[in-house]
Subunit: 224 residues, 2 copies
């Protein structure tokens, strides 16, 4: 048991070292790094598909697509005319800093303002791994139920933005928006909430606007 | 690195040893052990709530409720008049054989025909841990998208039954039932499919009937 705990510590410490390297690279190039996480099927890729056209108007963007086995999501992102690095974990349940560092080596960092990492669909393990990101976004779809906040607390505690997706399906679910807000803010009082229907392109402008503002604020520091 | 791999192997080998102990206990008591897995919010607990009244007519049932942090699901199951053992993983992303063995020690096994384990909401990690179960069920909700089969293949390859839930929301999604069936049977030709809307109690009779038949078949061996 002792050996296991120590190894775990070493593993996370090594991850934090690499995360610091990523932060250094992003600071040097004034790149804003975003980590998007959610359950499988909450709509991360659809949200990106709808958000990228808005982001592209103001920023130079690349996507790092985490996937267990396929290139489906990266193909959907490439179809938007945005560079997508495909990262296959071959069964692995989360992305770690080493994977992100290796993906960034394949990108021309001097030509980028924003990198968005789409993590593996999983509400548990990805929350434990620091990727050196500037911003953590968690996506929750209304069809998953509002009890997910209290059932998977770490993910919602570690995020700065919560995007509630599939609001178009609200009338057909028992999802309780009031309870969600109460539970989310009790766990994480600084959490910012967005309500969107990615499929129906609702709420996208406000979300994309906030993301672009954050990234531009960092990019401006190149000249000031 | 070598140490890490060896430890992983030891960990899974130890898990398999305990899974064999569970199989022995279940065989001795002629208990049918079921492991239900899915993404967060796919509807495992709601499916159980609707299925339990049917199962109780024919069998003596107990539930082992895996949860990261709360007792919410166990409370919902207890409300059905069924014994529920609450198993909190304190952040852990899956259930392992040790946890199931310890939970079974709290149950009166001589008075049971069926134990259903509700695993942690996660399509990745739970698939890797053998619990000594007789049957693996994976639940997929239509709002998650039919691409989950190819994106999380291990889970669907290791299951014997796939329950497609939230069929009442099909008209509001892009879910493609034909593609789902093709992909599922390509990965796992023996997979049995059920279509249900747990919330609207559709398809529950057929699902509960099959589960009860399996469990009774094992229970009958007590006397024959």
């Amino acid at each position: 048991m002792t050996i296991k705990v120590e190894l775990g510590t070493t593993l996370l410490a090594r991850n934090d070292e690499l995360a610091a390297e990523i932060q250094y690279l992003c600071e040097k190039n004034k790149i804003f790094l975003v980590n998007i996480m959610s359950s499988p099927g909450a709509g991360k890729t659809t949200l990106l598909e709808k958000t990228l056209p808005k982001l592209k108007e103001r920023l130079r963007v690349a996507i790092i697509e985490g996937d267990i086995a396929t290139t489906r999501d990266a193909d959907r992102i490439s179809a938007q005319g945005v560079t997508a690095v495909q990262l296959n974990t071959n069964g692995g349940c989360h992305l770690d800093a080493r994977m992100i560092y290796q993906s960034m080596e394949k990108l021309n960092l001097a030509q980028l303002d924003l990198i968005i990492v789409e993590n593996i669909g999983n509400l548990v393990c990805p929350a434990e791994f620091n990727l050196g990101e500037d911003l953590r976004i968690v996506l929750l779809s209304t069809t998953e139920g509002n009890d997910k906040i209290v059932k998977y607390p770490l993910m919602f505690r570690e995020a700065q933005i919560l995007v509630v997706n599939k609001t178009d399906l609200l009338p057909y679910t028992d999802f309780d928006l009031k309870e969600l807000e109460q539970d989310a803010l009790a766990i994480n009082p600084a959490l910012q909430l967005h309500y969107v229907s990615a499929r129906q392109s609702q709420g996208i402008d406000a979300f994309a606007g906030q993301l672009a503002d954050y990234a531009l604020k960092k990019a401006y520091r190149r000249w000031h």
